[in-house]
């Protein structure tokens, strides 16, 4: 009986029986714990106000109706218990097919060492293997995989971090074109992209961004010719020299007739490398991923037609969500694979090495370290496929936060694992050519590829706060003006909910295997704490909360931890219920993740509650003032005399 609950397919059946997609039945409604009805309504209203995409493809319409965003709702203390069922989006038969078709890929990437000797160009082989068309629609000779399937299919190539950088970048552009491209654009590019004749890549970031604008690459519209003229240069672009390439360029544009900062916007362009004025610059001498070709690209008076604009001109920021969502998800996959590889190598090392007659694997320190790393990898993987599953299962599901969190968590943990290895292996680990050294280099490179982790953290917190702000606005206004709303404040006084002892009525334990009851309890409490922290931050700072970056960084970590707990619990519960191999250890993993996560969330939320005078932020901010004034380290030498 219980096991049926966990399968996505069963959920599909239930919806079909009801026959209505958009109205949600009572049972499927998200559970509210601490919100009053008014706030709920506000949340629902804001949800409904979101512009729906104009036309949905056949594929989209087969999906289940949109659910409320999962992690965003954590910020207002609401959980969607249904989503504790780990999504099974690939049907059984499809899965068998998929696994069959992945065999050659796996073989190739495992035997790559010998293949390299043949001196055959890798791009040619990738083309033959169909790596360029994994996520392109079948109409255009692609494989037509969805999110989960294409991620699974790109797992073999992601084992080679260098190759995966360029392949993932290609797939991101394909994703974007699928979603935003006009039929003409799809007609024009997708076929070539799917077959690998044209290799796409993002060119977004710049070497030195300007002080005032977003980008120093500028495009202007010439009304007389009806064309755009693009000028500037992009950096850190993963290229495949010698091939025809398609660059996805974000450029600064100025709306006609709107002067000044108001009319400033960004526009997304597709630029063919064979166009006049496009020039590959020098290769960056990067720290890691040295085999990947990371270059500068120069655009010199490139003439672009109207049809090379993706989406609406000047409105690129609106589409950046789709762009970053895809690149975050696909970027995380490279991280997961690298982390897995590092962990496997380390496990191998500890088993084979013994020091002073003791095997490394028997030392407690080593064991704890290995298990920590394993927990991280487990959580990363669960988050990645949960997010992809949400995208596949529900129609235009909002996974902005989920994807950002997946990348944030993956990269941070990856770097953690890579540096922890140094301590275990010792000085040998940094000799050039060692696997640990390469792993560390690649991990560091992945951390800087695209957006930095700090901005990603800010993004997570801000997105959550934006959503929560819309839902909580009325309550926050009352709390901030207590004398005008005595009733509200009185209610708060009577409230016995505290950060150390949050009250929850979510009953998440009902939706997972009973062995994970404790883990579910951890999630419940953490969500409640997150909601309390958010409400407190709003009450304390009002909309100045956006300036409290240190607290927001904590909030981001809290949200990340909760999502990791959620995804791991969901996955472990499914595995155990259907009896996958070693599922009991998965239970253990999920329990470990949850109990550690609960403590972390508790600590962070207590820090937020303490405020900047208790949690040391104030001291640090004050120190930084002198630091900038002295332009560096300010204390004098410890042995200085004063008299």
């Amino acid at each position: 009986m219980r096991s049926t609950l966990f399968s996505g397919a069963s959920r599909l059946l239930r919806y079909n029986r009801n026959g209505q997609f958009l109205t949600r039945t009572k049972s499927t409604k998200a559970t509210s714990t601490s919100l009053d009805q008014q706030q709920q309504d506000a949340a629902a209203r804001s949800d409904g106000g979101r512009p729906e995409s104009v036309e949905e493809s056949q594929e989209e319409q087969q999906k289940l109706p949109t659910r409320e965003p999962l992690v965003k709702n954590f910020f207002i203390g609401v959980v969607d218990k249904e989503l504790l069922a780990y999504p099974e989006v690939i049907q059984r038969e499809e899965m068998a097919q998929l696994q069959n078709s992945l065999l050659p890929l796996k073989n190739y990437f495992e035997e790559q060492r010998e293949a390299e000797a043949e001196q055959q160009k890798p791009t040619e082989i990738y083309r033959q293997l169909g790596l360029y068309g994994l996520n392109a629609p079948t109409d255009y000779e692609g494989k037509g995989y969805g999110w989960s399937a294409s991620l699974m299919a790109s797992e073999p190539d992601s084992k080679d971090t260098n190759a995966s950088l360029s392949l993932q970048s290609h797939r991101v552009v394909v994703d974007l074109l699928k979603e935003l491209g006009t039929p003409q654009q799809q007609q024009r590019y997708l076929q070539d992209l799917a077959t690998g004749v044209l290799i796409a890549t993002e060119a977004i970031y710049e070497y030195s961004p300007p002080e005032e604008d977003y980008f120093s690459t500028k495009a202007e519209f010439l009304p007389e010719t009806g064309k755009w003229r693009l000028n500037g240069e992009k950096a850190f672009v993963v290229c495949t020299p010698g091939q025809r390439q398609l660059f996805l360029v974000l450029a600064q544009t100025q709306q006609p007739n709107v002067p000044g900062a108001v009319g400033r916007g960004t526009t997304i362009f597709l630029v063919d490398s064979q166009q006049e004025g496009v020039r590959l610059g020098e290769k960056h001498a990067t720290f890691g991923c040295r085999q990947a070709d990371i270059r500068r690209i120069h655009f010199d008076q490139v003439q672009l037609g109207e049809e090379q604009v993706v989406g609406i001109a000047h409105d690129g920021n609106r589409y950046s969500e789709q762009l970053v969502r895809s690149s975050r998800l696909r970027g995380s996959l490279a991280g997961v694979s690298l982390a897995k590889k590092l962990l496997n190598e380390l496990a191998q090392y500890t088993v084979t090495t013994s020091q002073c007659g003791v095997q490394l694997k028997d030392l407690e320190l080593t064991r704890v370290h290995l298990s920590r790393a394993a927990c991280s990898v487990y959580a990363m993987e669960s988050m990645l496929y949960l997010t992809a599953g949400l995208l596949d299962e529900f129609r235009s599901q909002d996974v902005t936060l989920e994807s950002a969190i997946t990348k944030f968590f993956t990269l941070r943990q990856l770097y953690e694992i890579a540096t922890q290895n140094l301590g275990l292996v010792g000085p040998k680990s940094l000799l050039s050519g060692e696997a640990t050294e390469l792993g560390l280099r690649d991990a560091a490179q992945l951390c800087t590829q695209g957006e930095s982790l700090d901005t990603l953290g800010m993004f997570i917190a801000l997105t959550g706060l934006q959503y929560a702000g819309q839902a909580m606005n009325a309550g926050v206004r009352k709390s901030r003006n207590p004398l005008f709303h005595p009733g509200h404040i009185f209610g708060k006084f009577l409230d016995t909910n505290s950060i150390d002892n949050p009250k929850t009525k979510m009953q998440l334990g009902e939706h997972v295997h009973p062995s994970l009851e404790a883990a579910a309890q951890c999630i419940e409490q953490s969500v409640a704490r997150l909601q309390m922290a958010v409400e407190l931050m709003f009450t304390r700072h009002g909309n100045a909360v956006v300036e409290r970056q240190s607290e927001m960084q904590r909030l981001a970590e809290v949200a990340t931890t909760i999502y990791a707990m959620w995804a791991s619990t969901a996955r472990a519960s499914r595995s155990y219920c259907i009896g996958l191999p070693l599922a009991d250890h998965e239970l253990l993993t999920a329990t470990a993740i949850c109990s550690q996560g609960k403590d972390r969330v508790h600590t962070l939320c207590t820090e937020i509650f303490g405020g900047n005078f208790v949690n040391n932020d104030n001291n640090l901010v004050r120190l930084s003032k002198q630091l900038t004034k002295s332009k560096g380290y300010f204390p004098v030498h410890p042995l200085t005399f004063n008299f």
């Binding site: 801000l462 702000g469 003006n481 909309n543 956006v546 008299f643």
Partner: protein
């Protein structure tokens, strides 16, 4: 007497460079250090009491020809060796303190130590509780307290050797000791408290001081750059002098964005004091951009509204709550005007200021050539000071004679 002084002088100048100084340093705390061994060292106690009507002691300092530290120390030494009783030594110390500035030794710890050394060791140490409580030898104690007070006023920090000397003279219960300990508690704390430490000694060159002054004022903006121009770089400058100009990248931007129709003002001279030196400086000012400032007025914001928080995509700078376009008020945009640059010139004349504007134009601020620049040689500072402190306490500057002297600069091409 005179010959002896010369003789000693030579001896001193000899010893200055070498070990002699060292040995003298050491000697203070050790010679006659045993207080109770020699109770009859000063047999004639009544000689300590000054005669009321007579001039206490001939002031040798007023008569000295060569006013250097060496002469000063020689005179102290002569006094010490003149007779065993050291009659009138309190008066001598007061006289010596008064004349320190003339000899330029008022910031020299060694000199103060030499003066303390004049005091007999051991004699003034109280031997019982009552003596200790009722200020044994009050006049002598007060004299040394005044000496220490003068040190404090001049910011001369005592050292541990001085403590030893004072202990030998007055014992642990002496009031000068208490004063000394209090000084040693506070003075090290105050010594480095200034956020704008000056070099010690402060350079004597006006250009160097002007540089320090402008640098100090420029600390409001960390990106400020202080440049020294020479007017001789310009073809037809009348004054040949230097100009210390301070301007930051932010100010350059404000100047670039300044409307070509609105005038800029050169105002001054204002004063800034560095220790005991005054520097005149001038500002290049624009009228406040009231529209912009009103736009940033925080009172119009609703802090409570959390329903539209902006989220930046793609690694853009995080938003600020006030005006989401990211425009911020810089420290230079004050309510009463926007300060675009400051300068100090060697002559503080109108011509040197004109040269300043032209040099700014030549050094990357081309837009200043298109803006009318007005001179407004009015300083409110002397007037204000007069208001506060009474007339004639701050000297009026040379340019302050006509306070409404506002003349458009005739720009020579």
């Amino acid at each position: 007497m005179l010959r002896r002084a010369q003789c000693l002088l030579r001896l001193h100048s000899h010893g200055r460079q070498s070990v002699a100084t060292l040995t003298r340093h050491r000697s203070y705390s050790t010679d006659e250090a045993t207080p109770k061994q020699n109770p009859s060292a000063n047999p004639n106690q009544r000689a300590q009491k000054p005669a009321r009507n007579l001039p206490a002691v001939r002031n040798p300092f007023a008569a000295a020809q060569d006013r250097t530290k060496d002469t000063y120390l020689t005179m102290v030494e002569i006094f010490q060796e003149r007779d065993v009783h050291r009659r009138n030594h309190v008066e001598f110390i007061y006289a010596a303190l008064k004349n320190m500035a003339d000899f330029g030794v008022e910031r020299d710890l060694e000199v103060y130590k030499a003066l303390i050394n004049v005091m007999p060791k051991g004699k003034f140490i109280p031997t019982n509780l009552f003596q200790a409580e009722f200020m044994h030898y009050p006049k002598q104690q007060q004299c040394i307290i005044d000496l220490l007070e003068q040190m404090e006023d001049f910011g001369v920090m005592p050292d541990y050797e001085m403590e030893a000397m004072l202990l030998n003279v007055f014992g642990r219960q002496g009031h000068p000791l208490r004063k000394y300990w209090r000084m040693m508690y506070w003075m090290p704390k105050f010594k480095n408290l200034s956020p704008w430490p000056l070099p010690d000694p402060v350079p004597d060159d006006t250009l160097e001081i002007a540089k320090l002054a402008v640098e100090r004022m420029c600390t409001v903006d960390l990106r400020s750059k202080v440049t020294v121009f020479q007017t001789s770089d310009l073809k037809d400058a009348i004054d040949d002098t230097w100009i210390v100009s301070g301007m930051s990248a932010e100010q350059e931007k404000l100047l670039r964005e300044h409307s070509r129709q609105k005038a800029l003002y050169i105002e001054g001279p204002f004063h800034i004091w560095l220790r005991n030196r005054r520097i005149n400086y001038f500002t290049l000012r624009a009228d406040p951009d009231t529209q912009f400032l009103a736009q940033l007025d925080e009172r119009q914001l609703d802090d409570d509204d959390v329903s539209n928080i902006e989220v930046p995509f793609l690694g853009r700078a995080p938003p600020r709550r006030h005006n989401q376009l990211g425009k911020l008020r810089s420290v230079h945009q004050q309510d009463d005007g926007t300060i675009l640059a400051i300068c100090a010139t060697g002559t503080s004349t109108k011509d040197s200021l004109l040269s300043w504007i032209r040099l700014l134009e030549a050094n990357g601020n081309s837009s200043i050539g298109e803006v009318p620049v007005l001179f407004r040689f009015t300083s409110t500072v002397p007037a204000k000071a007069e208001e506060i402190e009474g007339p004639a306490s701050v000297p009026a500057t040379s340019n302050a004679r006509s306070s409404k002297d506002e003349s458009p600069s005739s720009r020579r091409e």
